[in-house]
Subunit: 193 residues, 2 copies
């Protein structure tokens, strides 16, 4: 590895282990995400109170949740369904921070990573350990970054006034209408009794 040898104060081995424990397997995207979070924290200053915006639903949110105090459930991590491998870590008060992204042009030096990310090879043709070796060898060398000011999605998600849905008698936010989402026909389940 050409880069510093740890990720957010952990050894690479420890980091791979906690990925497996949380995410279920050593997903390449989470490993790359570890290097991204590590770089972002270094740029922003690891001791500041930071929030984060993640630009993909895939893998990267788990690297953030494992390596920063930001989680989906505490609201300090916002996730956009853009499918871009990028995140912005920023200081809560000033909204200043760093955006870090997987730089596709830089991955050309690491053809396994390029092929994997662009889905140019079937999974069977690129064994996980070969891909992970490339990712660990690349470290930060496939990333770019820029200073940013965050202009949206910051701050606490406001909770609306809570009322009781007249149909199901469950609590729901009144700003969603006269009944809850499920009773309004947008449900995702059939009740079996």
């Amino acid at each position: 590895m050409k880069n510093k040898s740890g990720i957010c104060g952990r050894s690479i081995e420890d980091f791979l282990e906690i990925i497996e424990g949380f995410h279920g397997w050593k997903a390449p995207g989470v490993v790359i995400g570890g290097f991204m979070v590590d770089l972002a924290r270094e740029l922003v200053g690891p001791h500041l109170e930071s929030d984060v915006v993640v630009e993909t639903f895939h893998c990267l949110p788990d690297a953030v949740q494992l390596l920063t105090p930001c989680t989906f459930g505490n609201g300090w991590m916002k996730v956009l369904d853009w499918d871009k491998y990028a995140l912005s870590l920023y200081e809560k008060k000033t909204l200043l921070g760093a955006r870090v992204w997987l730089d596709l042009e830089k991955t050309c030096l690491f053809p396994h990573i390029f092929d994997w990310y662009m889905r140019r090879v079937p999974k069977k043709a690129l064994p996980l350990d070969v891909l992970l070796d490339s990712i660990l060898a690349a470290g930060r060398d496939i990333l770019s970054h820029a200073p940013v000011r965050v202009t949206q999605y910051y701050g606490k998600k406001q909770k609306g006034r809570i009322s009781v849905c007249p149909k199901c008698r469950e609590a729901y936010p009144v700003n969603q209408g006269s009944q809850c989402q499920a009773c309004g026909g947008r449900g995702y389940y059939d009740r079996l009794n």
Copy 2:
């Protein structure tokens, strides 16, 4: 406590500790969420491969991520912005499972929980340890559940074909248009250099 004395095989003390480590503090919603996940797992069968739909962004997703293999980043947990304190855990193959929800009528027996959930008292008037004592005393007694068949949001989120945005040169999914979300004017940041 009138209920069984642990949560998903952990002691209550351990569970409160891992909440604090991950979520940042012993948030009442995550503690209630622990009882919800524990009940749902018991109903569905803890050894089945299960996915989950969570009906609120607040707190509950973190209980799920701490107590099941489902995370936001691995895609086994889907989260709806409905602000209902409910989740459905279901078997991946059959789509059959259990929906568990905070039953507002049952919280009337635990007035602190009712007041907290309905935001009827200012935070200062209800100290965290008093509220947590109520939640631990209530356990499952404030929950209801029903068997369900999941009809939406199941399965793997499809990844689209990836291309290079002609403007920023970053990778993005082509099904989003001729340029990426940020270059298309929906960005959340100003780049500072």
